[in-house]
């Protein structure tokens, strides 16, 4: 009685072995490192030459490193302490100005373990320090911009087909949309037919006015959904590029729900800079200055000093047609400037426009969106504003296309503008609706506190179990230790985020995991008290307790899963460790302890049990 077949022992041993192996990477810690990667939108590779430069520079500066690893995407140099890392960082940043150089913590997992896929747990921001942003994409502005694009397209379409319209504009009130008015129903009907044919994503409503005929155009539900989706995706892409420019290692950029994006930047402390770059919605437009007689096709803009200037409604090129940009110093004036390279479409239009307009002035308009939510009478109210500013007006000296230079900026403006133009414009402005910054010292403190709690909690439970259940208590303690090892291995393999509440979850599972063994051992005691034989008591104890343990754990699991569904960041970490801990404890506390007890006591004649 109470004997496991060989395969069960082997299974338990195998699980313990494999889990110990994958839990192992966590004890090696991390090396301070410097990571070098190519900047966005530049044709650069990380090759032997880059490695040689970096190594030579470090040698020059008398800085020693532990190891250098190179992949296609980055070069990683490891150092023995953070001071060396900091020195190396400034040396390399200067030596390789065109690359993104970032400080990093690289896991010091030995090669053979890494070859097996072993890696340490992924630490949450509350443990490693860094910034967490939750950004809300302003979909209303995204849709408004789409409508403006459509207005532009419709204007040229009507002009092309010689359909005279009285006016075309966005409807501000109500559900939005575009309104086109015509002098009579004939032109209107033709226009309606044309729009119907060309745009299947617009819903057309006819309005018969007193002396005019109007068409009200709105996006279909499907088109609206697609537009929102696109806006979110484009914003995520843009954010990725920008984060890349900031030189952050291991950033997390994910969508959350329909209109939100989570950005996590481990190790970043300068939140002001991060916010400025991430949230910036600046873009450029190039327009010709209007001639005096063209009042209809022009609009008034403001210069930086506040004086007005009339610019043509037609845009020559916009920010999203910029392929590359860099900050520079203007050769002639010695002032800061931004060099811009347009893509093919933009270059073609620029060339055509400048060829026809040599000697005439052209303006660069700097556009920025602001969005803010405030509490007014306990209700959140969102305000949106768009500022347009003419940063410079210059005379077109000669025709140009792809490459040109923009002046009229301060040095930091030129830098930021170049970065923003390179990384691409945001489709819609975003608002930071949640921010959490954890300093690096606090992160380390949290790790220490968490580890201390786990260790002390462990010792307490072990002593208690030993006191009450003697040898069997020892077996339960062994199972508890295995439970933690398996839990750590699973967290490492899944690369689930470990947070401070997550560590608290491990501590809590320590307390709750022994419950299964308490139930089993109490039942065994009870059976012995009822006069059952020791072997029989073990058997009955395990069998009877199982149903109870299963029911009890499953209900706790329901609560943990709900917690996961609702929680954010740190709370999710708690839910993960709690649910995984419950599941693994079922294995260790029941099968694990049974295995050990069967191995030592199974099949023997026992007078009494050490329980």
């Amino acid at each position: 009685m109470n004997q496991y077949p060989l395969w069960k022992y082997l299974l338990i041993a195998a699980v313990i072995f494999v889990c110990t192996l994958y839990a192992l990477p966590n004890i090696f810690g991390e090396d301070p490192a410097v990571q070098i990667s190519p900047a966005y939108a530049r044709d650069m590779k990380i090759d032997q030459a880059v490695q040689d430069t970096a190594v030579a520079e470090l040698k020059n500066a008398n800085i020693s490193f532990i190891r250098v690893d190179r992949t296609e995407n980055h070069l990683l140099l490891r150092f023995k302490d953070t001071d060396t890392q900091l020195n190396a960082y400034s040396v390399l940043k200067e030596a390789l100005p065109k690359y993104v150089v970032a400080q990093n913590l690289a896991p010091a997992t030995p090669d053979w373990l890494r070859a097996l896929g072993g890696q340490p747990m992924y630490l949450g921001l509350d443990l490693r320090g860094g910034v967490h942003f939750l950004m809300q994409v302003d979909m209303e502005t995204a849709i408004r911009q789409d409508e403006e694009t459509y207005i532009g397209e419709l204007r040229s379409l009507f002009r092309e087909k010689k359909l005279r319209y009285k006016g075309i504009n966005r409807v501000v009130a109500g559900g939005g949309g575009i309104q086109v008015s015509f002098a009579n129903i004939d032109i209107g009907a033709q226009a309606k037919k044309l729009v119907e044919k060309q745009y299947d994503d617009l819903v057309i409503t006819e309005i018969n006015g007193v002396d005019e005929y109007r068409l009200h155009l709105t996006f279909t539900e499907k088109a609206l959904k697609e537009n929102r989706q696109n806006a979110l995706e484009q914003n995520i892409t843009t954010l990725r590029n920008r984060v890349n420019e900031l030189g952050v290692s291991e950033p997390v950029i994910q969508r959350q729900g329909e209109e939100r994006i989570v950005v996590q930047l481990p190790g970043v402390q300068d939140t002001a800079r991060a916010k400025e770059i991430l949230g910036a919605t600046a873009t450029l437009e190039f327009r010709l200055v209007a001639e005096d007689d063209d009042q209809l096709g022009a609009r008034s803009y403001k210069r930086r000093d506040g004086t007005p200037v009339m610019l043509k409604r037609r845009v020559i090129a916009t920010g999203d047609q910029i392929a590359d940009a860099a900050a520079t110093i203007d050769q002639r004036s010695g002032r800061p400037a931004a060099v811009v390279r347009l893509d093919n479409k933009g270059a073609k239009r620029m060339l055509m426009t400048t060829r026809k307009n040599v000697g005439k002035p052209m303006a660069v308009v700097f556009i920025e969106y602001h969005i803010e939510t405030k509490m007014v009478d306990d209700k959140p109210v969102t305000t949106r504003a768009k500022t347009e500013e003419v940063i410079n007006v210059a005379t077109i000296q000669e025709e140009f296309g792809k490459n040109f230079q923009i002046t009229g900026l301060t040095s930091s403006e030129a830098n930021n503008l170049a970065l923003l133009l390179r990384a691409g414009a945001l489709k819609a402005p975003m608002e930071i609706i949640e921010e959490r910054t954890i300093g690096p010292s606090l992160g380390q403190e949290n790790i220490d506190l968490g580890l201390l709690s786990i260790m002390l909690g462990f010792v307490t439970v072990m002593l208690f179990m030993l006191m009450r259940y003697k040898t069997f208590g020892m077996v339960a303690n062994f199972a508890l230790l295995m439970n933690v090892v398996i839990l750590v291995a699973l967290l490492s393999l899944l690369q689930a985020t470990l947070t401070l509440p997550g560590m608290a979850g491990i501590v809590l599972t320590l307390g709750m995991a022994v419950d299964a063994n308490v139930l089993i051992f109490e039942k065994i005691r009870e059976e012995i008290a009822n006069g059952n034989s020791p072997q029989n008591s073990i058997n009955v104890g395990y069998e009877k307790a199982f149903v109870t343990i299963f029911d009890a754990n499953l209900t706790t699991l329901i609560a943990a899963v709900m917690l996961f569904g609702f929680g954010t960041g740190p709370i999710k970490g708690f839910a993960i460790t709690l649910s995984l801990g419950i599941i693994t404890s079922m294995f260790t506390a029941i099968m694990g302890t049974r295995g050990v007890i069967n191995f030592f006591y199974g099949g023997k004649k026992l007078a009494k049990l050490p329980v």
């Binding site: 809590l508 149903v547 029911d551 917690l563 708690f574």
Partner: protein
């Protein structure tokens, strides 16, 4: 400890009226406090900014308060956080600018008084997030309760399910009431703890219910009250053992886990104590009050008993 099957050491159920009265008083106090003074919600729920700064020597709160109040932050609440070196500053919803974030402005102000001030933590929660979290948190609690109601109703009997949920509402209410009464901050981690308390307390309740169900079949001749008393007594060893280990671990967490999870471990500790008590009294007493008797379990049990005689082989 040899227990005769028909004997029991403690007459738990006999004192259930006293327990119910005690629980009623505790719940009334909790409800009263919740209505009268409500909860001190953390910024997770209210929105606003929280800045934690570290000083190299013990910090003078008065001076910090004065600096902030005189420089455009009249609503700043300043307090020590954990140690006398760390200071927590809470602000309401303020105008935020991209170029010069609130946290930098605060840090600059404080650095005028002491060069060595370091930023430890900044949390900003927008007003739209807060109200959403309140809603989502409330829903999470309700969904959890419904999920449990269904599972326990399915596995046991609906009177057990109602008893279990009554115990859970009792526990949740008292833990939340405790936070309200003492004016402790109720934030996201405390809410997580409350949900974990639901899980734990239920775990406890299920274990007791399981034994009650088993004994109703075994001890057919005994009146319901006796069956419950016997069951609770039989499980007493386990209940005490598990509660004490969990409580000990939580005390460790409370003392050594750091200030950030103080509220969390506090709520859990309280929840474990209340949860243990409620699974003995509230859950069982509710099931009893609803008229649970062996007749309710017998027919259902006959089919189930066959299956459960040979459970999973481990």
């Amino acid at each position: 400890m040899l227990l005769n099957r028909f004997d029991y050491k403690f007459d738990f159920m006999g004192k259930r009226h006293i327990a119910v009265a005690l629980s009623a008083i505790l719940m009334a106090i909790s409800l009263g406090s919740l209505f009268m003074q409500g909860l001190v919600f953390g910024i997770d729920f209210t929105g606003g900014t929280l800045v934690e700064v570290g000083y190299s020597q013990p910090a003078e709160l008065e001076g910090i308060r004065k600096t902030l109040h005189e420089n455009g932050f009249p609503d700043a609440v300043v307090q020590h956080f954990g140690t006398s070196h760390d200071v927590l500053i809470r602000l309401g919803v303020h105008e935020e600018s991209k170029e010069d974030p609130l946290s930098s402005r605060i840090l600059r102000l404080l650095q005028k008084g002491d060069e060595g001030v370091k930023m430890r933590r900044v949390e900003y929660v927008g007003p739209q997030i807060g109200s959403e979290l309140v809603e989502k948190g409330g829903l999470a609690v309700i969904y959890t309760l419904i999920g449990i109601l269904i599972y326990v109703g399915f596995r046991f009997e609906y009177r057990f399910a109602i008893g279990a949920v009554a115990a859970l509402i009792h526990d949740t209410l008292i833990v939340v009431g405790f936070f309200s009464l003492l004016g402790l901050e109720f934030n996201l981690t405390v809410l997580a703890a409350v949900l974990a308390v639901i899980g734990y307390s239920l775990n406890d309740t299920i274990v007791v219910f399981d034994r009650i169900r088993e004994n109703f079949i075994k001890l057919r001749k005994q009146p319901s009250v006796n069956v419950m008393n016997i069951s609770i007594n039989q499980m007493l060893g386990r209940t005490v053992m598990t509660s004490v280990t969990t409580a000990l671990v939580l005390i460790v967490l409370f003392i050594f886990g750091g200030e950030l999870i103080h509220g969390f471990s506090m709520a859990l500790l309280l929840g474990v104590i209340i949860g243990t008590y409620s699974s003995i009294y509230i859950a069982s007493a509710s099931a009893l009050a609803l008229g649970l008797s062996k007749a309710d379990l017998m027919p259902v049990q006959k089919e189930g008993a066959e299956k459960q005689a040979k459970p999973f082989e481990w």
